[in-house]
Each structure stands twice: as C-alpha cells, then as structure tokens.
Amino acid sequence: MNNTIFYILVMAVVTYLIRVLPLTLVRKEIKNSFIRSFLYYVPYVTLAVMIFPAILDTTASPWSALVGFVVAMLFAWRGTSLVNVALLSCLSVFVVELLLY
C-alpha cells in the first residue's frame, strides 16, 4: 500500500471513530437536565458558528455571498422549504454575479 492511501485511511479511521463513539456508546436517554439542554442547543450554536462569517468566502465575491446569505435568512425565516431556501440562495448569488462581472 502506498503512503498516500495509508494516510487517507488513517484520516478516515480517526474521523469515523469521532462519529461512531457517542452514537454507539450512549444507548440510553440522558436524564441529566444540563446535558439535555446542552445537546438541545448544540446544533444551533455549532451550525451558526460554521455559517458565519465563512459563508462570505464561499462564492466568487463577498458581495454576492452577502446577498445569498440575506436571501437565505429571509426565506428561512418565512418558513420556505429547505430545498427552496438553498435554490433561491444559489439563484440570488448567480444573478448578483451576472450583474457584477
């Protein structure tokens, strides 16, 4: 096995262990109020931290990304379906970039 493939597999094992341990080891419903509350808040905090400001670097220009961000926020707030929020966000970026360049 060459070095590159060995490294790729090591990365995969580390990543899988992180993913599999809690899900297989925590087999019961947790009663502790602090942990329950903490886990309830985790998705909101983690995903919010990941979205902003990283979203501004994803497209060809921070301005198109900003517009895509605002559009996604507005439609998500209005309860538009997940698929449509994603599509409208893409569309707005595409249109802004057509105007920019």
Binding site: I5, S37, V49
Partner: protein, 237 residues
C-alpha cells in the same frame, strides 16, 4: 416497512440540495486534489471514506507537505471534533432501541448537513431518514470529486460559485425556522455568529484553526445557555 420507505423518501428529498452543494464543493476539492498530486482513485477514495470537507482540504495540505502521521491524526481530530457532539446529540434523537448496526451505519454519514436535517426533524429520528439523505448526498460528494479531478474546467466558474452557497442556505433553513418566535434561540444564533466573526477577525484569535474555534465556541455558548436557560422536558424531541 412502509414507514421505513416513507422515511427514506423524505430523507432523499431533503438530501437533494445537500447533494447539489456537495457536488460543487467536492468538484473544487477534486481540482485541488489533482494539484496536490492525487490520482482520481485516491481523491475519490478520500471523499468516500472521509466524507468531510474541511478535514479533506486540510488533509491535502498535509499530504503534499509530507506531514508526520501524528500531525495528520491530530489535525483530523481537531477539525472533526464537532462530529463528536453531533453524534452525541443524535444519540438522543433516535429511539434508544435502535440497533448497533443502524448506529454504526448512521455514524458514517454524520456530516454537518446530514446532521442538520436529521436533528431538525420534528419527530424521533428513524435511521432510514438519515439513509435517505446519505443515499443522494454521498454520491453527489463522490461524483463531484471525480469530475473535479479528471476535468477541472468542465463546469463554468459562475455555476460552481452559485452552487457553493447551497449548503449554507440549507443549514440556515435548518436553524432559522425554530428560532422564529423563540428569543433564546434567536439570541443564541446572533451571539454565535457574532463570536465567530470576532474569532475570525481579531488578529490574536484568527490564528486558531476553524475546527478548534467551532468546538470551543460550541462548548462555551451552548454550555452557558444550558446553565442559564435549561430546556424543559420533552423540548428536545
């Protein structure tokens, strides 16, 4: 059996925007993988076995820099440690009787986006729902990688740029609707984004890797919220 199929279809449906976004991101990954000297097989192998954007991009840098194995393990551990918390949260979202086989299979698919749509379900999570999401998202990720490596210039940059925001759009569609009319969640999202911006911009803090930043801010902000605003019973389901 009928419900399993229904759950699977519902997962496929929500997996489509994820697959689109993955395609765009992994296409870019494929281009960079080629530049880093990986052949198509190695690049696709990395995508299929690792299934994580930030970890793979970092992996490329380390591979082309001939890093030590310890360094690679530590980097992946830090960048991907958020999956530990996501997996932990999912352990409470599924039925406690869920078999070890389902748990191990679902675990492979825990990415930010698959986690996002799974945790956002207004009911207990069925493994088949997550499988539905995975069954379109993972091929999207693999196919994008393959095309990126073998033909980096086949897709117009404009299209890639527009598609790249899809993942963020759908993550927003996961966290924003429950925050509507909920002051605590709305406040937490604003604080999280604000702190994340500060960490990204302040010169002293900006040297912290993004993986470390995510895990530190999650512990601090979600931990603080759990102490100050404990969640009432059953709110989690």
């Amino acid at each position: 059996m009928k419900t399993n199929l229904k759950e699977w279809k519902s997962g496929v449906n929500n997996g489509i925007p994820i697959a689109m976004g993955y395609f765009a991101v992994s296409f870019t990954f494929g281009i960079l993988a080629k530049q880093a000297g990986l052949n198509p097989f190695e690049a696709v192998l990395m995508s299929v076995t690792n299934l994580t954007s930030a970890g793979q991009f970092a992996g490329l840098t380390l591979l082309s820099g001939a890093a030590a194995i310890v360094e690679i393990v530590m980097t992946q551990f830090i960048i991907n440690s958020r999956y530990f918390l996501m997996s932990f949260a999912l352990s409470q979202k599924i039925n406690p009787n869920t078999s070890i086989f389902h748990r191990m299979t679902m675990a492979y698919g825990i990415t930010d986006e698959v986690f996002g749509v799974s945790i956002a379900l207004p009911r207990k999570l069925s493994p088949y729902y997550t499988y539905g999401v995975m069954s379109v998202a993972i091929p999207g990720w693999a196919l994008g990688t393959l095309l990126g490596v073998i033909s980096g210039n086949i897709l117009p940059p404009r299209l890639i740029s527009a598609l790249s925001i899809a993942l963020y759009g759908m993550l927003l569609a996961v966290i924003i609707p429950p925050a509507k009319g909920n002051k605590i969640l709305s406040g937490l999202i604003v604080v999280s984004m604000g702190m994340s911006l500060i960490f990204a911009e302040l010169p002293i803090l900006s040297s912290i890797s993004s993986g470390l930043k995510i895990i530190v801010l999650t512990f601090v902000i979600a931990g603080f919220a759990a102490i100050v605003f404990p969640v009432k019973e059953h709110a989690y389901e």
